[in-house]
């Protein structure tokens, strides 16, 4: 089963970190990613540019509106994510607890909805219609 681990932390604190410490944390992240690639739990993972680079997009009455910045001002910001394949929630919690930012920020673990059966059904129906 897939879980999305959303990494939240205070990006301001990250900016004010001395380079040597930032580098050490990056090293930990590379190590962690290697580890979950090795045990087959890694599906995807990315780090995000900080929120000042964010743009919020909405469509209302067919009109696109774009605004600067994230949707809400919060103490911790979404800084990156891992998509993992875990046996169950306990397994996912174990993986999430090893994400380096778990020690300073927080990791939100969200189960991913499995649409594979739906997709299969749609494909079958689609195939049936074309015959």
């Amino acid at each position: 089963m897939r879980y999305l681990c959303l990494i939240y932390e205070n990006e301001k604190a990250w900016e004010s970190l001395p380079p040597s410490e930032a580098e050490a944390i990056m090293g930990e992240y590379f190590g962690f990613t290697e580890q979950i690639r090795g045990n087959g739990k890694f599906v995807a993972g990315e780090a995000l540019q900080p929120t000042p680079t964010a743009t919020t997009v909405r469509v209302r009455n067919g009109k696109i509106s774009t605004t600067d910045g994230p949707f809400a001002e919060t103490k911790e910001q979404l800084g990156g994510f891992y998509l993992i394949d875990a046996k169950d929630l306990n397994d996912a919690i174990q993986v999430a607890s090893k994400i380096p930012s778990a020690r300073v920020g927080s990791i939100e673990v969200r189960p991913v909805i499995d649409f594979s059966q739906e997709m299969e059904k749609r494909e079958q129906e689609g195939a049936g219609a074309s015959v």
Binding site: K87, D88, L89, N90, V109, P111
Partner: protein, 420 residues
């Protein structure tokens, strides 16, 4: 239901349910299957006779009923056919097992209901519903919560177990300490809610304490962990004093003033044995230490003849294991008994000055009592009034009223209030 089956339902339904949840992987489906199995038993046992292994029979029947149910539903939702097939091709069919070789799944059930990923309120509600078999209405009444709110809590928790795939497992050795702590906390909260209702008119809500002790017994039976035994001991030792904590008309009686001849000696003996066993394991925690303190009280012939030095010593260890201002407050009260009220008062004033217990009624009433013993009537009156304003318990409020009344009467008699 006929009587033997009703009796069986009372003793076996939770265990049957716990196993059905494991076999079927779904709380609601298992609940339905369990009900159907018992309904079938009511129909068939009186004429066909009771099976040799009733528990295994019920599990097996419930499982087949659930698979049937899924097959019927599969006509509308094809994906269920695969689920039904998978369940149908299970390992050893339970009807080939006898009752004793059928695994006891209640420990899985307890750990799942108390999973830390569930809201604390939901952990309590789900445990009482699934493990104890209380109805939603009963739980709602006990916790003074509207029944729809409580039902909603249970529905949400079950939905999360399913959607987030909270496993139906006993935690691994590495996870056990943290997970067990959550389970013990849930049980103790249930007990306390029954023992000293946090608000409202009645001081004790017996049924919740009974359920908590039942849970404690079940847990110690299934899991040989010293802290589980420690918690059970603590609950039994508190319970042993239930009759003496209130007067016939529901007024509060403090430990020092209780009629010790009415303490339940059987519960005390059982509690003391459990504490001693937990202490010997050298792998105990805060519940065992609190139980050890309760045991010293339970074995003392009177408040004055209590081994207060031992109690202070136990509080010292407890304070290290589980630092909390409430424990410091209790320790201060014990120091007052060992070394005199002025020594206890210095400690309590220190705790209150730190502000952590400023809104805790018991801190002020304890201070008031020490001031009273020292003859500082005005200070005692002040502190009792603070406690009175802070408490939410009716019985506690009336108790403080009586204390205040006695103090003010004595004050009137001497015509002056001593000040220091």
């Amino acid at each position: 239901m006929s009587d033997p089956i009703e009796e069986l339902f009372r003793t076996e339904s939770r265990r049957v349910l716990a196993t059905l949840i494991r076999l079927l992987g779904d709380f609601d489906l298992a609940e339905e299957a369990m009900q159907e199995a018992f309904t079938t038993a009511v129909e068939r046992w009186p004429t066909e006779g009771t099976p040799k292994n009733p528990r295994a029979w019920l599990v097996s029947t419930g499982r087949f009923k659930a698979i049937d149910q899924l097959r019927r539903r599969a006509r509308f939702d094809a994906s269920l056919a695969a689920v039904a097939d998978r369940l149908g091709n299970g390992v050893t069919p339970p009807h080939e097992l006898d009752d004793d070789s059928l695994e006891d799944d209640r420990l899985r059930l307890i750990f799942t209901c108390c999973h830390p990923a569930l809201q604390p309120d939901a952990q309590i509600a789900l445990t009482l519903r699934e493990v104890c078999g209380l109805t939603t209405e009963e739980i709602a009444r006990a916790f003074l919560t509207p029944a729809p709110t409580l039902a909603q809590r249970i529905v949400r928790a079950k939905a999360k177990i399913k959607a987030a795939r909270i496993p139906y497992h006993i935690p691994s050795r590495a996870e056990l300490p943290e997970r067990l702590a959550t389970v013990l906390h849930v049980i103790y909260l249930v007990f306390n809610e029954g023992y000293s209702a946090s608000s409202g008119g009645s001081l004790t809500r017996l049924e919740l304490s009974v359920e908590a002790i039942r849970l404690g017994r079940l847990l110690t039976e299934l899991l040989p962990e010293p802290e589980a035994a420690g918690l059970l001991a603590l609950m039994l030792l508190h319970e042993s004093r239930r009759a003496s904590r209130t007067t016939a008309d529901g007024e509060l009686v403090l430990l020092d003033d209780q009629d010790r001849s009415s303490w339940n000696r059987e519960l005390i003996a059982e509690g003391v044995t459990l504490v001693e066993r937990a202490l010997r394991s050298r792998n105990f925690g805060p519940y065992t230490l609190q139980a050890a303190i309760a045991a010293v009280h339970a074995e003392a012939p009177s408040a004055a003849d209590t081994d207060w030095a031992e109690i202070v010593g136990l509080y010292d260890v407890l304070r290290k294991a589980d630092p909390s201002p409430v424990i410091e407050l209790n320790r201060a009260a014990a120091v007052a008994m060992r070394d005199g009220p002025e020594n206890g008062l210095v400690l309590i004033d220190g705790i209150l000055a730190r502000g952590e217990l400023a809104d805790y009624a018991v801190a002020h009433s304890t201070r008031a009592e020490l001031c009273r013993r020292l003859g500082r009537t005005a200070d005692a009156v002040d502190s009792y009034r603070r406690a009175h304003a802070l408490t939410r318990q009716e019985a506690q409020r009336r108790f403080i009223d009586r204390k205040l009344g006695a103090l003010l009467e004595a004050g009137d008699g001497t015509n002056h209030v001593p000040r220091h």
